[in-house]
């Protein structure tokens, strides 16, 4: 069983999908001979041919729209948007069509497509290359938005996304593309969508997060543990639809909740989680919910990005604040 990074696990899942299902096609800008700018599609064109693994012209609207047409014909398109900063031209196609095709045709046509994009900051990238705007997609009915935070989950969730009969936005936290390795069995096994993953059990406070921030959050949990505070860590993974039951259950146990995300705070996905707590978990809350997030500013160019990104220190502070309040 190979020890793989997250981006290698993505590559492996793509290869597995192409291997087992002739309906799978992979495309995007620079994903062919170049293997994608992060090498997520490395070697796929050589192995599966230019008909199934193809470079597109520089047309994001088209990439998304074309995937819809393919999906309606029963292909399983897996399209790459090179960076999340260039995903916005796809929004119309995703919202107006991909997410609606099944509903508007009462199931006659449906849309088993995946739109992959690396997202998030922290890699010293140029302007528009460090975006975390998952909340835009998380608001869209009919869609799934899935974010892996480890090599194993990248492999299993991507396979699940590809073989799911409905459209999935699959956001890959590029800051942790190569941060850790995990043994990943190439067994073609999908992980479940629509459920949170409990990464760590705890009893004093629930830390809820996803994507690259799981890293800082787990670090924070470690540091809290050192101070005798037991933090439960939940990786939401599917942020649309959200498995609030798991989160509510955890907070029912701990009575405290810190939500961590990299995206801007206002109307971020953290708001939805906090809202669920205010609606359905109010009586179990011992302390105000805390959100540790990016600021409601534009993600700064890289000189300041570390000031923008939540840190484990901030998470620890917020967690302690929930404990003080009690």
């Amino acid at each position: 069983m190979a020890e793989l990074t997250l981006v290698e696990a993505v590559n492996l899942a793509l290869a597995r999908a192409l291997e087992i299902d002739p309906d799978v096609v992979v495309f995007g800008e620079d994903i062919g001979i170049n293997g994608g700018v992060f090498r997520a599609t490395l070697g796929l064109q050589a192995r599966y041919g230019k008909e199934r693994v193809m470079d597109t012209p520089l047309s994001e609207t088209l990439i998304a729209g074309m995937a819809i047409g393919m999906a309606a014909q029963g292909l399983k398109p897996v399209a790459e948007i090179q960076f999340m900063g260039f995903i916005y031209p796809t929004l119309d196609q995703i919202l107006s069509h991909a997410a609606r095709l099944r509903n508007r045709t009462r199931g006659r046509l449906h849309c088993p497509m995946v739109l992959r994009a690396p997202y998030g900051g922290g890699i010293h990238a140029p302007e528009h290359h460090s975006e975390s705007t998952e909340a835009l997609f998380a608001h869209i009915p009919g869609l799934r938005v899935v974010i892996p935070s480890s090599p194993l989950r990248a492999y299993g969730l991507l396979l699940a996304a590809i073989f799911d009969p409905d459209p999935v936005i699959f956001l890959e936290p590029k800051r942790i593309y190569r941060m850790v390795k995990e043994a990943v069995a190439d067994d073609g096994q999908a992980l479940p969508l629509d459920v949170c993953f409990r990464l760590r059990d705890g009893s004093d406070v629930t830390l809820v997060t996803w994507g690259a921030m799981t890293h800082e959050t787990l670090q924070a949990a470690d540091r809290l543990a050192q101070e005798g505070i037991s933090a439960e860590v939940i990786d939401v993974a599917t942020i649309k639809p959200i498995d609030s039951a798991t989160i509510l259950e955890s907070v029912a146990k701990t009575g405290r909740c810190v939500i961590v995300h990299e995206a801007a705070r206002a109307c971020g996905v953290g708001a939805e989680i906090a809202a669920q707590l205010a609606e359905h978990g109010l009586m179990s809350l011992y302390a105000p919910v805390q959100r540790v997030t990016g600021y409601d500013t534009i993600m700064p160019l890289f000189r300041l990005e570390q000031h923008y990104l939540p840190t484990s220190a901030r998470i620890v502070t917020a967690a302690k604040r929930t404990l003080e309040a009690a």
Binding site: P57, L62, G65, G69, L75, T105, R108, D243
Partner: protein, 381 residues
């Protein structure tokens, strides 16, 4: 069309030409226009083979008359509050029927919203179209047409879908073609351009029909673009583009059939601009007299596609007034039956808004569905 350019037909790059000389012509293009029957119903060009057969022409005629009969009825339904906003195809019947008649069953149509004439020929029922404009999603679940796309309201957004459909056909080696119909206004949108461009680059089995009815609501064809023809939008993509008289059903049928044949056999995409005219308001919610001179519409009446073919058939002695009356009566009856079905369609359950969102309703949405079921008193909180 134009020079063999090594940039354009391979992955290798050769340097640009460097010889001595004056500003050289490196590419040239032309756009052609075709019409078979002129507006007086006279043969303007030797008729294509299919049009020598009476049966074929009559089928086109019938389809146009049915479409127009449906259209009138739909407008009447809207006026009496039995239908929502409706987009009429009055005057554009030939452009739709010609397309529908040229297509093979296994092809896929991606219509905008005035192609009823094509949709009916492909098996979409009149009842379905009425349900759609009647505010009911079931009108997009075409019972006898599994693969065609439903009507597309956000302009030109279906052009990329057509690319994907055509790609799937090509990948699977099928002898099928995707046909994407859109309006003159639609040609101003990036989606349209991106789709035409890649159809060229990838030589997809894809035919674009631009139904140039001279207006996009109140914005005239001239205001959309300075391009002399909309057919020349194809040049930007390096694919063939041409104009046909869109009120001449023979020309539409023939040129679309040609394009389909080429595309079906690996010859790549084509763009056909059908010159026609929107005789009615944009939709029943519009009042074209606000922005369009009445005499323009009057003047356009002489080019009517149905009257034209009727004249030709009559002149050939193949179609009596009696036959014509019978046809109209038959169409009325069909439309009435469809309207009856439409009005008799049982109400849809409110919960259905949850039932086709995903293949399986996510757990997270179950409570919402339940609260809708028990609505009224209990609210949707």
């Amino acid at each position: 069309m134009a020079r063999a350019d090594s940039f354009a037909d391979g992955n290798s790059i050769t340097p640009p030409p460097r010889q001595f000389g004056q500003a050289r012509r490196v590419a040239h293009f032309e756009i052609k226009y075709l019409q078979y029957l002129n507006h007086l119903g006279e043969v303007a060009e030797e008729l294509p083979e299919f049009a020598q057969e009476r049966g074929q022409l009559l089928a086109l005629y019938r389809a146009m008359v049915l479409t127009r009969t449906f259209d009138k009825k739909a407008i009447a339904l809207q006026r009496t509050g039995k239908l929502g906003t409706y987009a009429s195809s009055l005057g554009q019947e030939a452009a739709a029927v010609g397309v529908g008649a040229a297509m093979a069953k296994q092809d896929v149509l991606l219509p905008a919203y005035r192609e009823y004439g094509a949709q009916f020929l492909r098996g979409v029922s009149m009842t379905e179209i009425l349900l759609y404009w009647g505010g009911d999603e079931r009108g997009m679940n075409y019972g006898a047409q599994a693969e065609d796309f439903p009507i597309c309201v956000p302009i030109a957004t279906h052009a990329p879908h057509a690319v994907g459909v055509a790609y799937a056909m090509k990948l699977r080696g099928q002898a099928r073609v995707a046909v994407c119909a859109l309006g003159d206004g639609a040609t101003s949108k990036g989606d349209f351009y991106e789709a035409v461009n890649i159809a060229g680059a990838w030589q997809l089995p894809l035919v674009f029909i631009v139904n140039n009815n001279q207006w996009a609501i109140s914005v005239s064809r001239a205001a959309q673009t300075r391009a002399e023809t909309l057919a020349q939008k194809a040049i930007a993509a390096g694919i063939p583009g041409e104009q046909v008289d869109g009120n001449d059903v023979i020309a539409v049928r023939e040129r679309v059939a040609q394009a389909l044949d080429t595309a079906r056999h690996g010859g790549g995409p084509r763009l056909i601009e059908a010159l026609t005219y929107r005789m009615g308001d944009h939709t029943t919610a519009d009042d074209a007299s606000r922005y369009r001179p009445g005499d323009e519409v009057e003047q356009q009446r002489q080019y009517d596609p149905i009257a034209r073919l009727h004249k030709y058939l009559a002149r050939c002695g193949e179609w009596s007034q009696q036959q014509d009356d019978a046809l109209y009566a038959e169409c009325e009856a069909k439309v009435d039956a469809a309207v009856k079905d439409y009005l008799a369609t049982p109400a849809v359950a409110p919960e259905s808004m949850f039932d086709y969102l995903y293949e399986k309703l996510p757990v997270a949405l179950r409570t919402q569905r339940e609260s809708l079921s028990s609505q009224g008193e209990s609210g949707n909180g």
